[in-house]
Symmetry: C6
């Protein structure tokens, strides 16, 4: 029934490849040794699952602060995997479904599709949103939650293998809801930690270059602001703010202020 | 597929232009330097999004006390933008839908329409009402909330750009529900702060003019009432109360009393 | 489209005129100067809305203790207004609808009808019941609440004007649910405050007249009971209790006892 | 339209007359002066409503401990009224309806039927059950509650009159849910208070008569048990327990024990 | 319409007779005088209801610890009654219905069927499960609860009589939910209290007989364990555990251990 | 109807045999004497149920920490049973059903199928997931819970026998929800307790063998970590982690670290 399966499944290349690429608009920058470690870990599981026999699936949770690069890293690992079936499930791909039952059914269908390929990868992005969690109440869709936890723990049929990469910026919520224990392994994705890492990001991205020596000005100001302590802002925030500055021809000063605002937001005690 | 998209989308001019104009019945008065700053900021994002490539969307939250002019300012920015697709989503435009599922679907449809244009702006007015928030319970539509937060964070397809301007008079609720973090930037819209600003508004609107020297009487009375401290009343309240006074030929005294009542309402400790 | 609108809307005269009259079975008695003030205020808004141009609607909340005459006063103002479209929405007119969605749709339809006339008045009676509020839980229909608040704040289309008079005996609930802020103005309707006002009501209604000198006996007994302090009973209670006494030929004593029971109910500390 | 109404309404005599009689299987015994007072009060309202013109309806709540005779008294008043339309709404008549919406619609229909007759009486029995109240939660049907409270306060159309008698053994629940204030008047139905009243009931019912002098034995034992204090057991309990004793040929002793058990139940501190 | 009714109702003999027998697999053993007392009480009500005229129904609640024999005793009473209509409603007979509305309708239908016979008995087994009670929340079906309480208190039509026997192992829940007051009488079914009663059960059942003198060994061990205090284990547990021991050829020791485990479970303070 | 039943039921061999085997990918290792005891106990019930006559069913709960081997042990017992009807109900087999009603119906259908065979076994795996329990709220499907508890306690028709093996890693939840009392017996499945047991597992599985003497290194490191105290990690975790190490050619050190992480997770006070 393997040949049959190949028939039934539309090639994953193309459509989803574009979607994966789209998740990494600024590429992957090596601003810290932890980036290589994460990719290494991810690819280790890619190879591992490929060879599994008695084990037939592995579920990995990438967690870290907002904007720290979780989705991009998962997409990067997927693109490097060479797996014949790759699918990314995002909250955006769920919005069109009527209600939680329809969403749960869609989730189930994607897993069922993945089971048809001998080697599949599913990225489940922002699982706190997939289960419709919101902090007041608290509220969530128990319907989707139950399906998700069950699917995370169920191996595909014999002769098939499945790697699941999920992302979340709410690890504590995952613990609280007992979702964490459905994963075989967790990988922590850090924010940009200090001004040295910030410098690396800005230099690699080419932001604030030119005669004005903007990068140094940015770093000076941020150092002033943090007084040498933790920066703790996600790389996505840094890169998109830098692009905004560039498009609007804003000076380094404006950029530094924005970053300071973000530091205050995520480090309330100091800000 | 761009030409196709132009075909599918009804021209935004006309219908919504009238709606935008209707949101600014008293024009925009420059009673404080912050007004120019807000408009500047807004137009900066208008230009920025127009040029985006890797980034493809930006979501901005205008928040401020009730009646402070949030909707008018968003509408003004939209009218100045020159964007080919502009749509305003208000709680009133949602009332006709049966239930939260129908509302969520409508919201989704509007975003899907916006994605068809190369350059779109969506104004989402009073998002606390869009999600059906009420302070007792507390209650809200998690269905709409999840869709909204997801749509705020999702870029349009490649080659398309989207600017979202949302308004709220309940910023603390946005924080509580973790909606704030879905915005790229927040702009604070202030109330009319002091009697100097109040004077500017009254003079520009032409209220209480004439031989009776009404404006000065108003200011004297309000000064008496506030004892020189913060006024903190929204410009919409001031302008509509002044019009009410004019239509009913009420004296400056009546107007001052009404304003005093509003000050008491929003500054309970003093009133 | 104004002529068209006239066609579409059934004349408000007749049907609703009878309904308005039916809300004032005992007429309006001037037992206190506040009655004239309330009517004055109401008619001021009637004239004001008639002349509105930039402003196109006003929402006024009549609140006061149970039986204080809120509905009768609103109906009286409506009858005096001369508006071409007048409609009264009561909890009784909502009972026949299946559920909160049907009720919400009905509410919306009435507003939509009102928008077709150039000058409309809507009375929304007992809004705490319209939103299905009950004190245990607390519970309410958030569906209807959201529609109501939105409709209260939405002006009719250009060239149309709308005056909304709503009534409630639960002002604190309105504050709690943040419904109050959707009104442009609040008018307080007082109960019958003291024995002097009570005397005025009894005399104007012709109750306890005749040789037996019943009114004085009533007043003496009530004075005894209240020890000269606040009466605080609604005029509807007084008039219907007096009619009950008359129909059953009960003496002044019986009437005074009933009133005392009501005083105890609404002034628990003393009773 | 009065003649028409007569046509549409099936004669109330017959069907409901049997149902009313069925509610008074043991007749009405005058074991205490309060019984005559209650009947008097009830018939006073029967006559009163008959003559109403400006007033068109009255709602009376009969409340008292379980088994105290509330339903029988309401049925008795109805039978004596001579009203052309009488209908009794019991929880049992509601069981067959699918859900709270169907029950609410049924309630509404019965009121609408009553409005067609010029003079109608509705008995609403055990309103705490009609609204589906249960003490855990607490829970109830807000749907039915809202309809009930609204219908209690709504007069029939002009030229029609309506008397509503409702019963409850949960007056405190009525207060809590703000249902009490929808009634024009409350009548308290007492339990059998002391051994003197108990003796009257037993003698009138003919229980424990014969050579064995059973009534005195019962009274002695109950006196012993209560130590001369309050009995507080409903007349229905007394009469059905006596009938059970008679059918099973149980001695006075057995009866006294059962009554003691009931005293303990409703007077927990002493029992 | 009595002859007609006989036509409509399928004979209760046969089908339900087998079901009743099936509820008493081990017969009724007289291990304590309370057993005869309970049966006596039950049959007293059987005869009583048969003769009722003004009274037309009686509802009796059998309550006691789990496995104490409530269902078997109710079934035994029913089999001895000679009533022409007997029906047992168990949670198992409800599982097949879709939801609480379908279950409520089924319950109602069974009562309606019973009303067609001149003399009916309904056994409602484990009413805490019938109302879907579970201790977390707490949760229950208010829909079914309301129907049940109403049906328990409603007499059949004139000329018909109904005896209801209900069972529960959660008397405190019945009190909490105010279900207890819907019963005319409660009968307590005790567990096997002490080793003397345990001996009686084992001897009558023939367990642990033979040369090995097993019964005495069991008793010695249990005495040791309870230190002469209360046993408090239901007879069903004792009989099924003894049968399990016999089928698996387990020694008296194994049996005693199991019983000790049960004692610990239901007497946590000692165990 | 027994022959008929055989016709209606598809042979359990084949399909479910493969499923049972699939639940034991690493076989059953005898790392502790408790394993033999559990299997013995299980098979004792297999034989017991086979011989039952008056008793017709037994329900056994296997509970223990996550990954301790509950499902494998239940499957092993089933495979050894020789029963003609065996069916395993897992959360995964429930995911495809629309909602809790559909799931409940499916559960019911499986029991009804089992009743058709003279001798059936049902494995209900992870019952906390079957009832959709999640720790926040807490939430669960009362619909499924009620059906499950009822089905656990209901014997099949005469001449049929049923053994139910259920598994859970949340025994305290079962107690809280009063599900435990629906079981006739509980069997505790332990985690791998100490380094001696860990050694037995690793040796039997052939992990870390070869010249490098990996097992000893693992044990040394784990001993270091636990300081000689409890290990408390499930055998599934140990075996799959060892396979992961092997597939990725990770050293003993990596494995020991992973195990240490698990110890920390399940023994938070020490870790
Ligand atoms: N080392 C890196 N790791 C991850 N992303 C990187 C890295 N270097 C550059 N990037 C860029 O940073 C961005 C990371 O954004 P991404 O959406 O992955 O963050 P996220 O953590 O998923 O955010 P969110 O919390 O909103 O889901 C991408 O545009 C990516 O191209
Ligand atoms: N500088 C200004 N900014 C905004 N509005 C202004 C300004 N000057 C005059 N206006 C007028 O004030 C009114 C502002 O009303 P608007 O509805 O925008 O307030 P809002 O803050 O959206 O109120 P709400 O809290 O009710 O949503 C408009 O009529 C607008 O024409
Ligand atoms: N000055 C007055 N103001 C209002 N009503 C008056 C006045 N004088 C007499 N009435 C009579 O008193 C009655 C007032 O009843 P109305 O239903 O308006 O009270 P309400 O406050 O709306 O009661 P509820 O709290 O039950 O809604 C009417 O019958 C009206 O004719
Ligand atoms: N004075 C009396 N008042 C009421 N009922 C009486 C009186 N004398 C005798 N009875 C008999 O007592 C019984 C009263 O029962 P009824 O059902 O009216 O009580 P209830 O208070 O409605 O009970 P519940 O609380 O269960 O609704 C009837 O059978 C009635 O015939
Ligand atoms: N005196 C007795 N009373 C009741 N049952 C007895 C007695 N003697 C023997 N038995 C047997 O004991 C068993 C009692 O089980 P039954 O199902 O009636 O208990 P239960 O209290 O209804 O249990 P549950 O709490 O589970 O509903 C039956 O098999 C019955 O044959
Ligand atoms: N003695 C044993 N008992 C159970 N399983 C064993 C044993 N020896 C080896 N195994 C293997 O260990 C694994 C046990 O996994 P299983 O799924 O049964 O654990 P579980 O306790 O059901 O886990 P979960 O808590 O996730 O449901 C199986 O692969 C099985 O082959
Ligand atoms: Mg992401
Ligand atoms: Mg606004
Ligand atoms: Mg009113
Ligand atoms: Mg009654
Ligand atoms: Mg039972
Ligand atoms: Mg398992």
């Amino acid at each position: 029934d393997f040949l049959l399966a190949l028939d039934e499944v539309k090639p994953a290349f193309g459509a989803d490849d574009a979607e994966l690429e789209d998740a990494i608009p600024y590429g992957i920058m090596h601003f810290s040794p932890s980036i290589a470690a994460i990719l290494n870990d991810g690819l280790l599981y890619v190879e591992n699952v490929r060879q599994q026999e008695r084990l037939r699936h592995t579920a990995v949770l990438l967690h870290g602060p907002p904007a720290s690069g979780k989705t991009a890293l998962a997409a990067h690992i997927a693109m490097k995997s060479g797996y014949p079936f790759i699918k990314i499930i995002t909250p955006a791909s769920m919005v069109g479904f009527r209600d939680e039952v329809a969403k749960k059914d869609h989730l189930h269908k994607i897993f069922t599709d993945a089971y048809k390929s001998p080697l599949s990868m599913l990225i489940i992005d922002n699982i706190e949103r997939i289960i419709e969690w919101n902090p007041v109440g608290p509220r969530l869709s128990n319907n989707i939650l139950q399906a998700l936890v069950t699917l995370l723990q169920t191996p595909p049929p014999k002769g098939h293998r499945l790697l699941i990469l999920a992302t979340t910026s709410r690890q504590s919520v995952m613990e609280q809801l007992d979702i964490s224990s459905a994963f075989d392994r967790e990988i922590r994705v850090p924010a940009v930690q200090d001004t040295r890492e910030l410098a690396a990001v800005l230099r690699e991205s080419g932001a604030f270059e030119g005669p004005a020596g903007g990068v140094d000005e940015v770093l000076d100001r941020v150092r002033e602001y943090t007084n040498g302590e933790r920066v703790g802002v996600g790389i996505k925030t840094i890169l998109t703010t830098a692009e905004t500055a560039r498009l609007s021809a804003q000076p380094a000063e404006w950029f530094a202020e924005q970053i300071a605002g973000q530091i205050a937001r995520y480090n309330p005690l100091r800000g």
